[in-house]
């Protein structure tokens, strides 16, 4: 693990969610889900399921032949005049970008929204080297001014009111604008226009990397993605190795499901296809193109057949929008730039069980994420496997759960596997609970079980399974 991250404590974070957060989150997610549902209905569910299946198969094919497609993409990008760099981890990726910046004497960088650069903490690394980095997606610009990360991967500032944003612009930009979305957007447009025209380097992510032609595909609405990759003289794209797809034909499926799942649009406003720098054509646009292929633990995720489908994700955010837990706590609670179900899967593997082992537990396993995922990632199966990894360890990581929890889990497993032990246990529990029982509930339990009863009473054991089953069978016979 490259990052020595402080452990993410979801439970504690969840206790500090501001009361207005759930309402703001639910307003946004309801809107996205509503638009998405209308478009899926218009397509017809059969066609939608066919598209999801095709999307899943294409992404799975790509990541299970990843070495082949990465080499093909590298050859193609090089052929059209781009430079390809390989980064094993976050530190190496940041060093590569800094070195490119140093060669071009870069003072100012404009950036379009990219989860890969959030993942590697690129902004911090560049600012530490004295380079100014400006986020240009409106939502990212706002949260950057506020000094925080994105609260949602698609709409980063969705939890802020227009009054708060007007206040922020007054304090940070010295611009007095009325608290109206249109006026505030105009302020940002004017400010960022100057930055685009003055920047020495543009940084983008990539939604897809097409192996066939070495094409970087970006999907945006505002146009900042086009600005960052068109106006500055040098363009650096930082793309996770998992983003590669075989060919343009694959895009016909993936682009169809991406925008519909993300914002409930048929297609976003701008979809760009960048194959190499335009330099040789004497066209406008950057003279140099650098592609940084980022591993940062992805090749390790690939190793586990149970978990590798984590990498199918196309970062649409639909699983965040549908998740009952995300809707209650918002993005920051996850302690990682990518939040929600897909963020939990990804972060707990990238950061490791020690730092993010709590995340796979922040789910009710209701499975709504599985059903909505446009590339059919079995999210809850993966979360279950990751829970197993945390508690018992697997071929990739040692168990990190507290000793008592591990012993408890093992004892439980033993009791459920051994009939006489199960019988003994269920009889004993009925006796043991007697002094604590009040009206069929257990209002207080001794530590560590009191973590449950601090919040709500525990239902008393009414019967054991075998007795219940016998009674039930007798009653069923009686009815016949």
């Amino acid at each position: 693990m490259s990052q020595a991250a402080a452990p993410i404590d979801f439970r504690t974070n969840a206790q500090h969610v501001p009361p207005k957060m759930p309402a703001a989150v639910q307003k946004a997610t309801a809107k996205f889900l509503g638009s998405r549902a209308a478009l899926v209905e218009a397509l017809g569910n059969d066609l939608w399921q066919t598209l999801r299946q095709a999307g899943h198969d294409l992404r799975l094919h790509a990541i299970t032949h990843l070495d082949h497609y990465l080499e093909q993409a590298e050859r193609a990008v090089t052929k059209v005049g781009g430079h390809v760099h390989w980064a094993r981890d976050a530190g190496e990726a940041n060093r590569i970008v800094l070195e490119i910046a140093r060669q071009h004497d870069v003072k100012k960088v404009v950036k379009s929204k990219s989860m890969a650069t959030e993942e590697i903490g690129l902004n911090h690394a560049m600012e530490a080297a004295g380079i100014q980095v400006i986020e240009t997606d409106l939502g990212e610009y706002i949260v950057q001014l506020l000094g925080v990360g994105p609260a949602h991967i698609v709409v980063p500032a969705f939890h802020l009111s227009k009054e708060e944003i007007a206040d922020l612009f007054r304090k940070k930009l010295g611009v007095d604008a009325p608290a109206e979305a249109e006026k505030l957007t105009q302020v940002a447009r004017t400010k960022l226009r100057e930055e685009f025209l003055a920047a020495d380097l543009g940084i983008s992510g990539g939604n897809f990397l097409v192996a066939e032609t070495g094409t970087i595909v970006t999907v945006t609405n505002e146009g900042n993605g086009r600005m960052c990759t068109t106006i500055p003289p040098v363009h650096v794209a930082i793309v996770g190795i998992d983003k590669v797809v075989p060919d343009w034909e694959s895009l016909t499926v993936l682009l169809k499901v991406l925008a519909r799942s993300a914002t409930g649009q048929k297609i976003t406003c701008y979809t760009q296809f960048i194959s190499g720098p335009p330099g040789a054509e004497a066209e406008t646009g950057p003279k140099e193109l650098h592609l940084v292929l980022l591993d940062n633990g992805r090749s390790r995720i690939l190793k586990s057949p149970e978990c590798r489908e984590t990498l199918l994700c196309i970062r649409c955010g639909a699983c965040l929008n549908i998740c009952p837990v995300f809707n209650s706590v918002g993005g920051y609670t996850y302690g990682y730039p990518i939040s929600g179900p897909t963020g939990m899967m990804f972060a707990s593997q990238i950061l490791g069980a020690k730092a993010a082992g709590g995340l796979p537990f922040a789910s009710t396993l209701c499975g709504a994420c599985n059903d909505i995922c446009p590339v059919q990632i079995p999210i809850t199966d993966i979360l279950l496997h990751l829970r197993h990894r945390v508690v018992e360890g697997d071929e990739q990581e040692k168990a990190v759960a507290p000793y008592a929890l591990r012993m408890g889990a093992q004892a439980g497993s033993l009791a459920l596997r051994t009939p006489w032990l199960y019988r003994l246990g269920s009889t004993m529990l009925k006796w043991l609970q007697t002094p604590l029982k009040r009206d069929g509930w257990l209002p207080r339990l001794p530590p560590p079980l009191n973590r449950w009863t601090m919040a709500r009473p525990f239902p008393a054991f009414a019967s054991d399974f075998r007795t219940w089953w016998r009674t039930r069978s007798r009653e069923a016979k009686g009815r016949q």
Partner: protein, 217 residues
């Protein structure tokens, strides 16, 4: 740098149990998602325009060069255009778009000029390489005479399209353009909903998109 490449590819191969020459299975077919069947050209144009209008674009049908001149005059007035930039394609030269704009008192800026000057233009005029009716999408390829900044920096983007640009769907469009160095799909004017989910047009790209169909007898 090379060691990073070898290490990453090595790890990927080890994780997948593959070797450098391991066989590659065929790409799963996309054909099970049946390609879209195009309707008649008139129906396709009607669909394209209705989709563009849904996304706050402004459409117009022109019946020839005189119509184009009238429409340009109205646009220049409505959007208070003082400076404009445009593609230098043979088609635009034949239509003498530049001449028409000059006659309206509009100053023309070369797309290759300093980008600050191009950014000051109120109007950018482009053609359309491919139009996709289903989503109201215009595909613009870029080349030396079709610089990408023309559809990006000015406040208003005017796209002049011909019936010949119509394609049924992305399958057809992609097979034609995939070898191009750069292309962009434009669907409506630049938009955001980042502030309280309120739809706002013209964040960074053009605030207005005009799509005109030009038919010539």
């Amino acid at each position: 740098m090379d060691s990073a490449r070898e290490e990453i590819l090595g790890k990927v191969r080890a994780s997948l149990g593959r070797g450098p020459g391991s066989p590659v299975a065929p790409v799963p077919p996309t054909t099970r998602v049946s390609p879209r069947a195009p309707a008649s050209t008139d129906a396709e144009i009607a669909l394209l325009f209705s989709e563009i209008e849904k996304l706050n674009g402004i459409t117009r049908r022109l019946a020839g060069r005189d119509d184009l001149k009238t429409a340009l005059a109205e646009l220049v007035k409505a959007e208070a255009v003082k400076k404009a930039t445009l593609w230098a394609t043979p088609e635009f030269q034949a239509l003498d778009v530049a001449g028409a704009l000059k006659a309206l008192g509009v100053e023309l800026i070369s797309p290759q000029a300093d980008q600050r000057l191009v950014a000051e233009c109120e109007l950018g005029v482009t053609g359309v390489d491919v139009a996709l009716p289903e989503t109201g999408t215009l595909l613009l390829r870029s080349s030396p005479e079709k610089p990408r900044v023309v559809s990006l920096l000015p406040r208003v983007h005017l796209a002049i399209l011909r019936r010949a640009a119509l394609r049924a769907d992305l399958h057809q469009a992609f097979s034609e353009v995939k070898q191009n160095g750069y292309c962009v799909l434009v669907t409506g004017p630049s938009r955001t909903a980042d502030i309280e989910l309120t739809l706002t047009l013209g964040v960074h790209g053009p605030k207005a998109l005009y799509a005109w169909l030009l038919d010539e007898a």
